[in-house]
Amino acid sequence: MDIDLLSNIFFAMVRTGTPLLLVALGEMVCEKSGVLNLGQEGMMLFGAVTGFIVAFSTGNLWLGVMLAMAAGMLLSMLFAAVALGFNANQVATGLALTIFGVGLSTFVGAAWVGKPLTGFEPVVIPLLSDIPLIGRMLFAQDLLIYLSFVLFALVAWVMLKTRIGLIVQAVGENPDAASAMGLPVLRVRTLAVLFGGAMAGLAGAYLSLAYTPMWAENMTAGRGWIALALVVFASWRVFRVLLGAYLFGLASIIHLVAQGVGLSIPSNLLAMLPYLATIVVLVLLSRDPIKTRLFAPVSLGKPWQPGH
């Protein structure tokens, strides 16, 4: 395996892992605050179709990205109203949201299937992108991927180093105590859900505007669900979310490369590889029950209302 091939694999790994990274970061923050939103797939799809339609009609990719995020937030607002406002079961509400988002995106996007669009092009940073192995991976990507680096750093910093991160964690662990301390539990949770929606919308926009610039029904192909599993297996730790997302990307690429090289392993088995590899590695990492307990949001998925 020569160095060019490796460099290409790393480059593609990041491209494939980025949509997962974006949606998983949003869901991680959401779950840290104690809310389980299973609607990621639906929000992603609605974001993807909205972003595509807007970008195609206006010719403005960034407007598409922004409205895709708004679309994700719109759906998550629906979720917040039902699950937080009316205290409905979070699992059922999230599932309903996904089904709704899948249907809505198919309906809205019916006329746009297969239309050609010039999406985000790679922006190659001179010199830096010539670094062997990792140069192209980090410095020859499109702008949305650079944005994902920034967002990752931002989420990591906020969750690990700031008071806001502490508040989100406190609300997710013990909402009664947080409320007794005067923290606005429902407001924090609503904001976390909205953030999750915006990130899912952005992940959708990345798919339809950069990764494969087009719209197709169900183009997320279950990434929203994988992101949900990723957050759990990453035991709600932000660096492990990154690791898991890129690992999934890497395994997806290896499966393509292996097919290209002509390995005689059945492609169905190889197609399982990304899921298997990601889960195995993250399960191995989360063996320590004490450490896992330290990061898990204890009140995840439990409805909560102020004053009893």
């Binding site: 502490l166 662990e173 013990n174 105590a177 007794a180 005067g182 307990r293 204890v298």
Partner: protein
């Protein structure tokens, strides 16, 4: 109405709060002056918790008004109470287990907490000044109950505080520590801070508080000056009938050895836990042995080893034995079959499943009492068993299908203890059996333990309440830093000596009695 006394710091007028099916607070009046230490007394269910929640803004009253420095206001939420300078130490601690001590305190302090580097020395300073040593960087989940309470108290003291509400604060302290806390509270009061002190230990209320308001059944049943009342008079205000409240139970010496612990050492892999060194302990059938000690000195570890939650490898099976049979390698269910019953320290979550009904909770440990046949649960027998517990141990609950978490601490504890006693154990291990339990329930629990002892069971009680241990135990020892003192006959020792053992001043080489 308008009293001529100087403007009270906090005034409650006609506070009423109704819940479906009960009136928790009925026309309650309360006055607290600046610098006053005021006691709030009452049995569980008397409405103390509701009243505190109203003062602290957690719930809103249906009627009545709150005046702060004479000004009528609506306590919207706890953050408003905190802004006014009201701090509260909860009985069920409101700490975040996955955060460090410093982070917990920083969360409560809001923006004024500053950075971790600024906050940690401040925490050390405050905790040292008030004699409550804390390590700011430790994670709360690794702290014992006593240490967690210190965090709660220090958290309130870090802020500019005008009114401090403490719910059963001394239940986890040694007598010496309680005295130190009182010194702290008196100092705070002399600095002008008002203190609302909730306790069931009447002696303490008398020693500390300048005035007291007694609640019974949601109403104020009396105001008094505790120093002028006897314990019995106070208790009578609280429960109405004070029969058998002040009893010292007769001491006995027991029969054959049942529980034997021989040179038990255990290394705790948790860096914040305590390792046990050469524990030497025995309990006879028909006696109660008490182990005193401040939380965090090895109680959790010894309980886990005795209950079987932390089994030892087979080669160490002899370290713990029941009636001569080695059990140290056995799991909890196997030990239960040999006659063990266990009442853990934590009622909700360890002793009972909060969301499950009382009858389901009864089934959890009593399934070997003919409640299950061929893998199927005999529903009617389970309910009958639960109802028998409720009846025999006077548990106050609507019925056996009520969720465990909706019971008050005392009632749930009576239920858990009842569940274990009904299984006719040969050995009962109870941790902090009356922690946070009112006088009436505590008396009932003590009577039940004595009755079980007289029926011939061996009983081991681990408690931080020395008064309790001296009341019910026949022999007593103390844990300090993972070492156990020798056991002495209760009649031949006194709280001061045991207090010294709790501080680690004992000679472990002394010969066992």
């Amino acid at each position: 109405m308008s009293s001529s006394t100087p403007l009270a710091r906090l005034q409650l007028r006609g506070i009423t709060k109704r819940y479906p099916g009960c009136v928790a607070n009925d026309q309650i009046d309360l006055n607290i002056q600046a610098g006053e230490i005021h006691a709030l007394l009452g049995e569980n269910g008397a409405g103390k918790s509701t009243l505190m929640k109203i003062i602290y803004g957690v719930t809103q009253p249906d009627e009545g008004e709150i005046r702060w420095h004479g000004e009528t206001l609506k306590m919207r939420d706890p953050s408003m109470a905190r802004t006014l300078g009201i701090g509260m130490v909860f009985q069920h601690f409101s700490l975040f287990e996955t955060l460090t001590v410093a982070e917990n305190i920083a969360l409560a302090m809001g923006r004024q907490a500053g950075t971790a580097q600024q906050l940690e020395p401040k925490i050390r300073e405050v905790s040292k000044r008030y004699g409550m040593p804390l390590e700011p960087e430790r994670l709360v989940h690794s702290l014992s109950i006593g240490e967690r309470q210190r965090v709660e108290i220090v958290r309130c003291l870090m802020q500019d505080i005008k009114l401090l509400i403490l719910d059963e604060p001394t239940s986890v302290l040694t007598p010496q520590e309680a005295d130190e806390l009182f010194t702290t509270l008196r100092r705070l009061a002399s600095e002008g801070c008002s203190i609302l002190f909730i306790s069931h230990k009447l002696g303490e209320v008398r020693a500390l508080c300048q005035s007291a308001t007694v609640l019974r059944g949601g109403k104020v049943s009396g105001h008094c000056i505790p120093a002028d009342c006897t314990d019995l008079e106070l208790a009578r205000l609280m429960v109405g009938d004070a029969q058998g409240l002040e009893t010292r139970h007769a001491k006995v010496s027991g029969a054959n050895l049942f529980l034997q612990v021989d040179q038990l050492s255990w290394y705790n892999p948790d860096p914040f836990g305590t390792s046990l060194k050469d524990i030497q302990l025995n309990v006879r059938s028909g006696e109660i042995v008490g182990i005193a000690g401040v939380a965090g000195n090895g109680q959790d570890e010894i309980l886990a080893l005795l209950s079987g939650e932390q089994p030892l490898p087979k080669r160490e099976a002899l370290r713990i034995s029941f009636a001569g049979q080695p059990v140290a390698h056995l799991k909890p269910d196997a030990r239960r079959q040999l006659g063990l019953a266990f009442v853990p320290a934590e009622r909700l979550g360890h002793g009972a499943v909060p969301d499950m009904s009382l009858s389901d909770n009864a089934l959890l440990t009593a399934f070997q009492q003919g409640l299950v046949s061929k893998g199927l649960v005999k529903r009617s027998k389970v309910v009958a068993f639960a109802e028998e517990i409720i009846r025999r141990f006077a548990v106050k609950t609507p019925n056996a299908e009520t969720a465990a978490q909706s019971l008050s601490g005392g009632n749930l504890q009576k239920f858990i203890l009842g569940r274990e006693i009904m299984q006719n154990p040969k050995l009962l291990i109870a941790a902090h059996p009356t922690w946070g339990v009112d006088v009436g329930a505590a008396t009932a629990i003590h009577r039940a333990l004595i009755a079980l002892r007289d029926a011939g069971a061996a009983i081991l009680v681990i408690s931080e309440d020395l008064d309790e241990l001296f009341q019910i135990c026949d022999r007593i020892g103390a844990l300090s830093s993972g070492k156990l003192s020798t056991l002495a006959n209760t009649l031949e020792t006194n709280p001061v000596e045991v207090g010294r053992w709790m501080a680690g001043q004992f000679n472990t080489d002394a010969v066992l009695s």
